[in-house]
Amino acid sequence: MSDGQPLLEVENLTTTFSTEDGTLTAVDGVDFSVDTGETVCIVGESGSGKTVATESITKIINTPPGKIEGTVRYKGRDLLSIPGSELRQIRGNEIAHIFQNPQEAMNHCYTVGWQITEALQIHQDVSDEEARTKAVDLMDRVGIANASSRFDDYPHEFSGGQKQRIMIAMALVGDPDLLIADEPTTALDVTVQAQILELLDDLQDEYGMGILFVTHDLGVVAQIADRIVVMYAGKVMERGNVLDIFDNPTHPYTQQLLECLPEFGGTGGGIPGTLPDPHDPPDGCRFAPRCEYAEEACRTGEQPEEVEIEPGQWVSCVHYGPGGDPSVIGGEEFGIAGDTGAADGDSEVGPADD
């Protein structure tokens, strides 16, 4: 924004759920920001809290059982402390969401046109005909052929990719400033995935939206991201400019994520071990139990403070902190710049994610 303030600024966001087994901490003190017109990707394994983090921004997770704390500053307003009625005016209007599974994300009982105009008429005082005209325009814009005749069709009459296009049309009704896209291409096949990403890219230029994009697909990240936030077990491990992080991944977790990708010179292996139990996270760095460089200092206290190692690149790792020794982490064997990543062609193991 012109005044140098980010469009969205998330500070110390913590989301917990009270369950029968005690309190589950899904997101634990996360910081990140999104500027107008930029794409920020949140990456990490399934279960690392990416989705909960994005759904906490406009409080669309159910509270209770959820409990959201911290600050979510959108254009200077703290979304977590404004009344529900004000928040509803922002949802779907200024901040729009699209979801992972377009099939489930639409109500099967209503026509797609009804569902788009519903979003429109909640926020704008328009007649049914005006709403219809605008909805058809949007359907046309997102690439639905014969939009005016398909207005009255039901979701099940569209393919998966078309459904996601409709969801995007629904998100665009209020000319949003921020689009939160939660794995919008995961349920789609690869060619459709590329088309949807291209569409989002075009729309971003056209609408000047900031996009917060959740994915576990680093290939998608490489294609669309300006900045990335690497999350693990509810904590941010590393964040910064996408090129900086891909060139020089500093956190062992980021390094191992990239290592999983043969196309980035990795070996295509998975990361050994599993995510810690969110009811009872380990002391110290969350990643320490799976980290090959973990020392005693990594297993005590809290998650290390984030350290800015390069301008705009922050990492949460003991070895980069005060008294740490970054050379412990064998950076040269990772990174796209390295020469040891010769893939052996055997890449049946994908990313560590599902």
């Binding site: 005016q89 949802r91 779907g92 209007n93 109500n107 099967h108 519903e118 909640i122 039901y154 099940h156």
Partner: protein
């Protein structure tokens, strides 16, 4: 292919079903001995006449000597032209007896059905929205109570409390009051209440469980993300899909109660409706009247299922009627 054609086909099928029912009824009836004929034979024997001749005459009188197919066509024609024969126990045409009884049955059935159809889903969805709260537990408790307690017994208890002890309602149903009068509303309040508690339980439970599924569906998250208010989200996004499975339960429930409970409730409260008419026809072995009330209930069931099928396709657009 279109909805219009589906409706037409479905209505025609309902007609065929009713014809099949009529045919089966006729076959059963013609295979069974006719009590009138037997009575004539007994009477002739008692009076020293010839039983065989009396049987012959009685059969001739009732057209039973005609060939089977002639009698079948007569019977079918009679059923569809509402000429349902003569009720010997009531000395009036069967259709008239059914019509009179229906007049009283409708007076409590219509408010009962409307209340069940409106309150059941509302309370069920409300219960799901407040799941495991004291409101939910109260609604669930009420549902199980109404479901578990026999209608006639509950009716007697309420009659005892409000009619005998508190004396706020008449103990015997008064047919002389006008349909739309305070007196009629008062005397029908308890029977309607009893029937509603009996039928609303299942409706509430089904809508609670179905809507519990839909209120956590992804499309509810979409609705929330669009800025839809919670009330609107429940009214549109939860209620609508809930009605689809509910419509099946609802029709079955209401029909079952209509046939079963209305009889007992009418007997308890002394309402001269269809249930009591059937009951008395059975006791007095009035074949034509039993046949008439049975056919009436059967046709109600056929029409009920027809409506259910049509409502089903309107509510859930995914149900295809292309290949049916």
């Amino acid at each position: 292919m279109g909805f219009g054609r589906y409706v037409t086909a479905r209505v025609l099928w309902a007609g065929v079903v009713s014809l099949i029912i009529t045919t089966i009824t006729f076959l059963l009836l013609s295979a069974a001995p006719n009590p009138d004929v037997q009575r004539a034979a007994t009477q002739a024997a008692l009076q020293g006449g010839d039983p065989a001749e009396a049987v012959e005459r009685a059969r001739e009188l009732r057209g039973l000597d005609e060939p089977l197919y002639v009698r079948y066509f007569d019977f079918v024609q009679g059923v569809y032209t509402l000429d349902w024969g003569w009720s010997s126990s009531r000395s009036q045409p069967v259709i008239e007896a059914v019509g009179n009884a229906l007049y009283y049955t409708a007076q409590y059935s219509i408010p009962w059905t409307i209340l069940t159809v409106i309150l059941g889903p509302l309370v069920g969805v409300y219960s799901a929205a407040n799941m495991y709260s004291w409101r939910d537990h109260a609604a669930t408790g009420f549902a199980f109570f109404g479901y578990a307690i026999p209608n006639f017994f509950f009716g007697i208890i309420l009659l005892l409390i409000f009619g005998v002890w508190l004396e706020v309602i008449p103990i015997v149903y008064n047919t002389d009051v006008a349909v739309f009068s305070v007196e009629n509303a008062i005397q029908l309040a308890i029977p309607v209440f009893v029937l509603v508690t009996g039928s609303i339980g299942a409706v509430m439970r089904v809508s609670r469980n179905e809507s519990a599924e839909f209120q956590n569906a992804d499309f509810m998250k979409t609705a929330k993300a669009k800025g839809v208010s919670p009330l609107r989200a429940y009214a549109y996004h939860v209620m609508r899909p809930t009605l689809v499975p509910l419509s099946t339960t609802l029709v079955g429930q209401l029909l079952a109660l209509f046939l079963g409970s209305s009889l007992l409730v009418e007997v308890v409260f002394g309402i001269p409706g269809l249930g009591r008419l059937t009951f008395e026809a059975l006791l007095s072995q009035d074949t034509n009247l039993v046949l008439g009330t049975t056919l009436f209930f059967t046709f109600v069931a056929v029409v009920g299922n027809l409506i259910e099928d049509l409502v089903f396709t309107v509510l859930d657009p995914r149900i295809s009627y292309d290949d049916r």
